[in-house]
Point group: none
């Protein structure tokens, strides 16, 4: 057996799948000799991350891909954002995604991103939110990238069944309401509303905002989730695993399942990400870990922008900058997306995503190209996100017999 | 409709699936005109006995194939071994697989098989274990083939959550420990330890062992399961069913689901089994039963020994000795494995197993060869073990509409 034949790399090109435009999908139009070589000596199929006809979110998609049932473990995105920005969550913490925004004196939103403030400016504003306690609950806020951040409420008797304060449009700030009749939901909504008011008081009087046309004068919250510990991958699959990703959410889900999050220079989670640096990080991680998850975001960003040509070129970049390095390692490799994002829709869709796996124990088929249509004829047929890690651990020779 | 078109035969060639060596799997390399004819006039697919990426055990695989969820019905292999050697189990019985072994005076294992004693010798030693009761629990031991046997503890308040006494290696005998903090587990571990000690006292002083270099002087136990009755196949599927098998385990699972176990001369569950005799037994069973399960073990044994050529030849033997007789009956026929056992791994793997079905109601496809790669293009796609009996009962015209 080759060196690293007991190791595995899962490459998720976010929003990879697409629909045809002028007869081809971006993946079909792209020149991808390395992906095609992996397909030729591997096996292909189409993957439904959650289920047929279900449009995956980025959070739910990754949970399923890592083998963690969303029904059991998903309560809301806030949890993963908070973990992703580096907050250590405790059992029962309620977490939200946040935006710095601009409101007028009547609490009408003028800009949901406060003029898309810089990351460094947001970090300075974050100082306003130290040592806050409301109604016995500890309040933790951490800024992440640009106007984004995460808010955590920690205390006894909290609930994630509360409404957003973010109206998702340029209307009046919402008052968070309990979404169920429990004292926990009522208490949490009250705390969130008080915190939102406090954020306005503090930010509006913060000298850093002086003179700004769109002052970052409030924190909007959405996507509450309640944290509950999951068994780490090491326990569930018996493998040591690491994550190479730019975006906070992907790091957050990886953290949730117990992966070590590697710091990678130039991994921005954006179109300008340093793919070479990420590939190097994966290769060197194989010395220490059994399994490495590599997340590449830009394929999805181009899709959201409806940029077919950009997506095609970026796929070619992945093929030429990332794959040769990873293929040299001799590790088992899987390539897929977390979902399909067709450029002409500009949003996630439920179409299955192309999937390939390559490794010494793969029973390879006669598919020679990696794309949505070749994969439809692959020997793996239609698989589901929940299968992926079981298949990977099997390929790595680290699965145990179920039964005797 | 032909005679027997309402009847069904499920042929399980144990460990049938494989990987390519020099470009072909044993099933591809074998000349199998009858299997190919069944495929040509039938439909093919790939079957995951438990789930994608899950390596099936022999016990769990057969439970699923018979339509009995392992989550609901599987607690451990001991149950099926005990049923297989002919012990009538009662609700709450805790059963173990046993080995006659050799220990020295310090309880260190010298041979886990006591020099692989003969079946007849073991039958004589079995006499040492009549009418034993420990702590109010009745103890039943029955020898099966060579050094193997099954142990049953019967009484109130027992648990299968106890550790093995068999260390699975040439080290010191293990003391069984309760695996949970319940009084039931503590009590059962205590009884098992006392029985193990007793087995040593009795066997060590048994004159039959005198002069043997490796005396069969202890019973090692492993794989505890607790028995709980399942609804028989006749109730679940409305069919009368019979089992033609050599190995105790397969008979045990068949018995568990309420099949009648047919006595077949020359069915050894080994490479020397009499395939003609087994085929005759299936044909004659069709007079009395709706459904016959035929288990053939040797394909798996050759795989475990890494004997590609032996596996290939044995597949050809199945094709020429078993199939013509069964095909003449006009019954619906399914052929598959319980799992894949690649010769080059020498153990079970999670690769799906080739599956074919043939019968008057089969919507046949254009697959003309029965092997892992042709089946990947079959019209049945990827199916699961749990589907098999429902499909069979449907083919037999004995399924009922679900709903109205």
């Amino acid at each position: 057996m080759a060196e690293n034949s007991g190791k595995g790399i899962l490459i998720v090109c976010d929003g990879l799948g697409d629909l045809r435009e002028k007869g081809k999908t971006p993946l079909q139009a792209a020149k991808t000799p390395n992906m095609d070589r992996l397909a030729e000596h591997g096996a292909c199929g189409l993957m439904h991350t959650i289920g047929r006809g279900i449009i995956p979110g980025s959070d739910t998609a990754h949970l399923q891909l890592f083998g963690y049932s969303t029904e059991k473990y998903y309560t809301g995105r806030g949890t993963f954002e908070a973990l992703g920005v580096g907050i250590e969550l405790e059992e029962g913490d309620v977490a939200f995604r946040c935006n710095f925004a601009t409101v007028d004196e009547k609490m009408k939103i003028l800009d949901r991103r406060a003029g898309r403030i810089s990351t460094s400016f947001a970090k300075k504003l974050e100082q306003d939110f130290q040592n806050i306690e409301i109604d016995g609950a500890k309040v933790i806020f951490k800024a992440s990238v640009e106007h984004r951040g995460a808010l955590v409420l920690r205390g006894k008797g909290l609930s994630h069944k509360v409404g957003d304060t973010d109206p998702h449009s340029l209307t009046r700030l919402l008052v968070s309401k309990p979404l169920e009749g429990t004292p926990e939901a009522k208490k949490t909504a009250k705390i969130l509303n008080e915190f939102t008011k406090l954020s306005h008081e503090k930010l509006n009087s913060n000298p850093l905002n002086e003179g700004r046309e769109l002052p970052a004068n409030i924190l909007l919250s959405r996507g509450p989730g309640i944290f509950s510990k999951a068994p780490p991958m090491e326990e569930k699959f018996g493998i040591r695993s690491a994550c190479v990703a730019g975006g906070a959410l992907y790091k957050g889900v990886a953290k949730f399942v117990g992966m070590d999050i590697l710091k990678v220079k130039g991994a921005t989670g954006a179109k300008d990400t340093d793919l070479n640096s990420k590939a190097d990080a994966v290769v060197s991680a194989l010395n220490e870990y059994d399994f490495v998850f590599l997340h590449i975001k830009a394929t999805d960003s181009f899709s959201h922008d409806g940029d077919f040509g950009g997506k095609k070129k970026f796929i070619e970049k992945i093929d030429s900058e990332v794959l040769p390095k990873l293929m040299e390692t001799g590790a088992n490799i899987m390539i897929t997306g977390d979902h399909t994002t067709p450029c002409r829709i500009g949003d996630h869709s439920s179409h299955p995503t192309p999937f390939l796996m390559n490794g010494e124990l793969v029973r390879h088929d006669d598919i020679k190209k990696f794309d949505e249509f070749s994969c439809a004829n692959g020997s793996l047929g239609h698989l589901f996100g929940k299968d992926v890690m079981n298949m990977m651990v099997s390929l790595m020779g680290k699965a145990h017999i179920y039964g005797a």
